[in-house]
Amino acid sequence: MTDKTAFIRDEVQALKDQGLYNTIRTIEGPQGAHLTVDGREVLNFCSNNYLGLANDARLVEAAKGALARYGVGPGAVRTIAGTMILHTELESALARFKGVDATISFQSGFVANLAVIPALVGAGDVIISDELNHASIVDGVRLAKAARKIYPHNDVAALRERLAEARAEGANRILTITDGVFSMDGDLAPLDRIVDAADEFDAMVMVDDAHGEGVVGRGGRGIVDHFGLHGRVDVEVGTMSKAFGAVGGYVAGSNELIEWLRQRGRPFLFSSAVTPPDVAACLAAVGILDASTELVDRLWSNAAVFKAMMTSYGFDLGSSDTPITPVMLGEEHLAREFSRRLLEDRAVFAQAISFPTVPRGKARIRVMISAAHSERDLEDGATAFAAVGRELGVVP
């Protein structure tokens, strides 16, 4: 009898041979500025827990309260019996926070992208997507039956050419998609100019603001708020799994858009709703951000302090406009060794990012700054970077 799954062993071995195999570390305590990894406390520079809300007492209490009141599970998909009052409260709170007509929540930001793109465009339509858009957008584009055009990263002139081509080719609907904050470099999309270009060609604009929600804009209201584009961006996709500290995703936009997604967003229709404690935690997070800018301000202050220290040590921090801090190292093996020494010798958990996630020769360590970091944490982290940087000849 043949081994029908032998190909998996071969593929996994190939990943290992190519240095592309993901080794997954297990965290043995709550998220925060410090983590317990392999029984050892380390300084956490890896998480997307921008505001430190993942283990915030207010979110924990909200989740506990929801557990006691609503139980652990939603029981069904949203369209059958899974829509609980918590879901609608969260969607209303998010709509108020974002300054839009309505929102619809999903199981994750990834799922939100898979839901919204095929619901908006299909055969005869064209999607125009930034070359560095997130994998969830790539997969959403592949799910849709629309033709696709890719424009160079943040190149609005090239985007305008693609829009003109799409119109000339007789596209029915055109959907322009960009990340709001690009997670590998921390740079912002030029959303104001993208919207102007799209308007010129009567194209829809969708922004995935997973790394911008809770980070950019007034009080973390996202990139649309940052550029003052309220009412001009057709689709905003956000996540509750990063700055908001919990889990889930959402789409924000007009009443018509949200109504349409309730009818045609396939993950909304065919996959169970987010659990009550998760939704309650999200709701508490939105409340915290709505009430105060303190955490967002601290996040940016921390990022400025850390970047200044790292720059003074001589590190190349790329072109980040946000708290995402890429420490550019170039060669893959150097980035991996740098990350290993940080963790093993200095108890600093900061992950190396290399090909194929970023181009060859542009490997880096991506430092994720959080409002949860203290000044001492930032100093300790920068000092550890400097020490390893000197050992490896990266900085003088």
Partner: protein, 160 residues
């Protein structure tokens, strides 16, 4: 060996290069149809054998070049490298598709092998359509890129 920077917009600007291969085949067909030799001479059988053998080898070469070229493209990283590799694959495979047709054409007036030429030319045109710039071909390569954990790299390279 370097190729011109055919730059942007996917298949759009590749079409003129592809048309350079299609044009001589179409022109040859037109010429032969208008001025067809009346009778094959005594050496037609040998010319036919040569043309058919060349066609078999060259047409197989089209598929081989495209396969090797696709593997090369998938291993590359920078937009410039991918763009040149895509162009190289397209030009070489089109050249292999055209060669038997031109060979057969050369024999038409020498040996009167009109039917042989028309058959080979028709096959060459079909192969040129397959080997030329096609959005579906680029999307297939893009999908393989995505399956390997990357993004729409080929589209990005040809559009950059």
């Amino acid at each position: 060996m370097s190729f011109p920077d055919i730059d942007r917009r996917g298949t759009r600007r590749l079409r003129w290069i592809w048309a350079l291969f299609v044009a001589p085949v179409v022109a040859a067909i037109a010429l032969v149809v208008v001025v067809a030799p009346s009778q094959p001479d005594g050496s037609a059988v040998w010319f036919t054998v040569v043309v058919v053998l060349a066609a078999v080898v060259d047409f197989a070469g089209v598929f081989w070049i495209r396969w090797v070229g696709a593997e090369a493209i998938l291993s590359l990283d920078s937009n410039d490298e991918i763009r040149v590799a895509y162009l190289r694959r397209m030009v070489l495979s089109c050249a292999f598709a055209v060669t038997p047709a031109l060979l057969a054409f050369a024999f038409v007036f020498a040996a009167g092998t009109t039917e042989v030429f028309l058959g080979v030319a028709a096959a060459a045109l079909l192969l040129l359509a397959y080997a030329g710039p096609r959005s579906s071909d680029i999307e297939l390569l893009d999908d393989r890129m995505v399956d390997a954990g990357r993004s729409f790299r080929v589209s990005a390279a040809l559009d950059s």
